[in-house]
Symmetry: C2
C-alpha cells in the first residue's frame, strides 16, 4: 500500500522534511498507521516523492527521536508498538451542514436483533440451508474464466443467455408471455420496481397499492415523489372497486398477496385488467414467491391474461436462491421496454455478469427446478406444522387461505385484538413473529399474525407455535 | 420444469381435456416446447392438476393423433421432432399503448461494433488480462460457504469488513478522511452517483459539471429532472469562476478530468471548495481512475482538503478489478450519510455480498495493491508508446498534461479541425478512437482525440498510432 504524502507547493528541503514528518505523524495519530505497521524504506519513499533520500531520513530520524518510529536492525522501520490504534482516534468524515432533500428526512429503519430470538418466524426469508451451494460455487467458478469475462464490457445488455433462460422458465412454469428480448435482468425485484418507477412516476403521480401491503415498495415509490394510496384487500385480494380512479399505477401481489397470502380471485383479476384499460393505468404485478406452490393448480398471472399490454411483470430469484445473491427481472409491455433498458443502463450498466452467467447455467442445467421441487417438499411440511399449531388457536384466529409462498397469515376473530402486544409477548418467549397491523397504512387495521416458515426447521415449529399460542392467549385474555 | 397449465373455472371432464390439449398445443406452437422435449408423464401431470389420469391421457391421445406428440416405448412422450422452435414463432410480450415519461423519450444508446476494430483505443476500459483472476476465483469460492452466507439477510448494511478495508485503502493511498462507518458500498460509481442524486436533486435543481465531461453522468442527472449546465475546462481544470451561482451540485473529476485528463490545479481546488461554501453547494468528486498514477506525487483529493463537509467522494473498483464486477463506494459528509444509506436500502438492499466479501479479502490480503502496482507498470509502458506516437503529430496536436488514469488526450492546434472526421477515418483504418467534440454539450468544442490504452497491448500501439497519424494527416490536409 502506497502512503499518500504530498509535497505540493514550492519549498526548500527543510519544508519537505517537515511535510513528510507531519504526514506520517498525522497518519499515526489518527490510526491509519497502527503500532507495528512497517513504513516504507527511506530509499523507496524518496524515489516515490522525488526527493533526496536524506530528506526522508531526516523526517524519519525526527519521528524516531520522538518515539513514533522504531527501527529494527536489518528489517526496516516500524510504527512504535506503543501507538495502538484506537477506534476513537480514527478519522471520521466531516459532519457538514448539507441537508438531504426533505423526503429523506425520516427515522432510519430499525433492524431487530434477529439473533437473540430462539425461534424465527419472520416472513420473506428462504432457508439458506436448502440451497445447493456446492453446485452454485461450481457454476460461479465456471464464470470466472478469461474467455467469459472478456466478453463483458461497459454498455452491454447483460447476459442474453440469462434472458433466454428466464423467458423459458417463466413461460413454462408461470405461463408468462415473453421472448428473451422481453426480459430485463435486474439485481432483484427492488431494483426492478425502482426502474419501473423511474420510467412511469412523475412528481405527484397517484399510485395505488394493497393495504395491508409491501411497505418497502411503498417507501420506494414515495422517494420517487409518488402519492401512494392504500386500497383494501378482502378474501378475493385487492378490492378493485375501491381503486382511486386517478391512479396511474397499481402495485399488486396477486399470486400470494403480501402480507396476507390471499390469492386474487379470477373475477378480480379480470376486473383489474379491465379497470386498467378503462383508466389508462399500468399494473405492476410482483410475483415475489409463487415458485413455492402447495395447490394443484397455479394461479394464472395477470401478465398472461393481459391482452392490452398493461401489465409489468416483476419477479425475483432471491426466494429461490439466497437473498445475498441479487437477481430479479422485469417483463414489461414492449412499449415500455426501451425506456426501462435505458433506465437500467444509466444507473447500473449491465449489472454483475458473474451472478447472471451462473444463474443462466443454474436454470439451463435444471438445478433451479430440482431445488425448487426439493425445497417445496420441505416448506410444505413446515407449512403443515404451522397450520397444525394454528388449528389449536381456531377459537381466536382464522387462517387466511393461500396456495403459495413462504409464510401464512391468520386474522383475529376479535377485531379489537392488539396484535402488536402479541408480537411483544411472543418476543419475550423467544419467538420472532410479525403482526398484520404493522403492514397497514391507510386502511383500518385487521389484526392478525404473519408467520414465516423459511427460517425455522420443522422440528422447532411445534415448540414455536406453542410459545406463540401462550402469547396469543395471554393477550386475548388480558 | 413444471409446465404451467391451469384448469380454472368449473367444467366437466371434457372441458378439462380440451384445456390441457390447448395449453400444450399453444406451448408447442409458440416455441416454449420444442421438438424432442419430453412432456410430463400422464400420471404425474394428472396428479399435478388434480384430475383423473384418463383426462390427461385423452388430451395426449388427441395431440398424438394430430402429430404434435410422439410416444416412445418405455421412455415417455415427446414433442414431435418435426416441431422445430423457430425464433419467429416464439411469443413476445404484448406491445401495449403505455408510454414512459417524456424524459425517457430519447434515441437508444448506440453501441459501436467493438469487435470489428483491429486496434481498440477506447477510453475507460482496464485490461482484463492483467487481472489476477485465479486469486479472485479463490476468494469468491471462499465467500460461497454456508457460514458466510447465513450471515447475509435482508436489511443489512452490506459487508462491514469491506467498509473498513475501503476506509483504510482510501486513507492510506488517497488521504481521504473516512472511518469505516463513513463508507457506503455500492455496485459501482454509477449507482453511487445515482444515490447522491436521489438525496440531493429535486426537479429543476441546477447541477454544474465539466464540459467536456462525463456524458453518462449528465444523462443520469437529467433523469432525476436536474437542469445540467456545462462549465468550461481549461489547463487548470474546471473554471470555477464560470460556475453558475445558483448551482446546488457540482460534479467534477479533479484527479484526471474526464475526458481531457487534466488535473485540477491546487489553486482551483481551494477556489472550488470556497465557492461551495459561499454558494451552499455540494461537490461530487468522482475519483474514477486515479489509482493508476504516473507522477511522483498524487493529486490531493478535494475530500481531504475539505474542512466544511461539502464534498461527496465517489469511486469505483471497476477500473482496478473488471467492469463486469460491480463495486464502488461513496464517502459523503456525515450530514448526508443516513439519507444515502436509506436510499441504498430502499432500492438495492445491501447489494451482492459475495462480491463484497471477496473484495474485502482482495484488499486485506494485499492483492489489490499488488495488482495496481503491476498494472501501473504495464500501463505506464503503453502510455509512453502512445506519447511517442503523439510526438510524431506534434505539429498538429498538443498533448494535454495528465498524471493518472487509463487514457490521454491531445487537442488540435487548429481549432477548426473536425475530430469526428478523424475518428471516422481512423475507423476505416481499423482503429477505434474517440473525438473530444463527442464529449462537449454546452461549451464551444475544443477538437481533439481521447486515446485509451487499457484495451490494447504494447506491441500493437506503434501500428495503431501510425494508422491514427494517417487518419489525422488526411483530415487536416483535406
Amino acid at each position: 500500500m502506497d502512503l499518500h504524502i504530498t509535497l505540493e507547493g514550492p519549498g526548500d528541503p527543510d519544508t519537505r522534511v517537515a511535510r513528510i514528518y507531519h504526514a506520517l505523524r498525522e497518519a499515526m495519530l489518527d490510526g491509519r498507521l497502527a503500532g507495528g505497521d512497517r513504513v516504507p524504506a527511506t530509499r523507496k519513499l524518496a524515489r516515490q516523492l522525488g526527493v533526496a533520500r536524506g530528506t526522508v531520513t531526516a523526517a524519519y530520524d525526527r519521528l524516531t527521536a520522538e518515539g513514533f518510529l522504531e527501527s529494527r536492525a536489518g528489517s526496516g522501520t516500524y510504527v512504535a508498538a506503543s501507538l495502538q490504534a484506537k477506534d476513537g482516534v480514527r478519522r471520521r468524515a466531516r459532519r457538514g451542514a448539507v441537508r438531504p432533500l426533505p423526503l429523506w428526512d425520516t427515522e432510519p429503519a430499525t433492524t431487530s436483533p434477529r439473533n437473540l430470538r430462539l425461534h424465527d418466524l419472520s416472513i420473506g426469508l428462504p432457508d439458506p440451508a436448502l440451497f445447493p451451494l456446492e453446485v452454485w460455487r461450481r457454476l460461479v467458478s465456471g464464470q470466472l474464466r478469461r474467455s467469459r469475462l472478456e466478453e463483458a464490457t461497459y454498455g452491454g445488455r447483460g447476459s442474453f443467455r440469462l434472458q433466454a433462460e428466464i423467458a423459458r422458465f417463466l413461460g413454462l412454469s408461470r405461463s408468462v408471455v415473453a421472448s428473451p428480448d422481453d426480459v430485463l435482468v435486474t439485481a432483484g425485484a427492488q431494483q426492478a420496481i425502482d426502474l419501473v418507477a423511474r420510467v412511469l412516476v412523475a412528481p405527484r403521480t397517484l399510485v395505488a397499492m394493497e393495504d395491508p401491503g409491501y411497505f418497502a415498495v411503498r417507501r420506494l415509490l414515495e422517494t420517487h415523489r409518488a402519492v401512494v394510496r392504500g386500497v383494501p384487500v378482502d378474501d378475493e385480494g385487492l378490492v378493485v372497486d375501491a381503486l382511486p380512479p386517478e391512479a396511474r399505477l397499481v402495485y399488486v401481489t396477486p399470486s400470494h398477496q403480501f402480507p396476507t397470502g390471499v390469492p386474487m380471485s379470477m373475477a378480480r383479476r379480470t376486473a383489474l385488467l379491465r379497470w386498467a384499460v378503462e383508466h389508462d393505468a399500468v399494473i405492476v404485478e410482483d410475483d415475489y414467491d409463487s415458485e413455492y406452490r402447495y395447490a394443484q393448480q397455479p394461479v394464472e398471472p395477470l401478465q398472461s391474461l393481459d391482452r392490452d399490454g398493461r401489465v409489468v411483470y416483476v419477479g425475483t430469484f432471491s426466494k429461490s436462491l439466497l437473498p445475498a445473491l441479487r437477481a430479479g427481472f422485469v417483463v414489461p409491455p414492449r412499449s415500455l421496454l426501451p425506456a426501462l433498458r435505458e433506465a437500467k443502463r444509466v444507473t447500473a450498466w449491465e449489472g454483475d455478469l458473474t451472478t447472471q452467467g451462473a444463474l443462466a447455467a443454474f436454470l439451463a442445467e435444471g438445478h433451479h427446478a430440482a431445488h425448487v421441487r426439493r425445497a417445496t417438499r420441505v416448506y410444505r411440511e413446515r407449512r403443515g406444522l404451522v397450520l397444525d399449531g394454528l388449528a389449536g388457536l381456531g377459537d381466536l384466529l382464522g387462517v387466511v387461505p393461500s396456495v403459495a409462498g413462504l409464510h401464512l397469515c391468520a386474522t383475529f376473530r376479535d377485531p379489537s385484538t392488539d396484535d402488536a402486544a402479541v408480537v411483544t409477548r411472543a418476543a419475550a418467549r423467544g419467538v420472532r413473529v410479525e403482526g398484520l397491523s404493522h403492514h397497514h397504512r391507510d386502511q383500518p387495521v385487521r389484526p392478525g399474525l404473519a408467520i414465516g416458515f423459511g427460517g425455522i426447521d420443522a422440528e422447532a415449529i411445534p415448540d414455536a407455535m406453542s410459545r406463540l399460542e401462550q402469547a396469543v392467549r395471554l393477550t386475548t385474555q388480558a
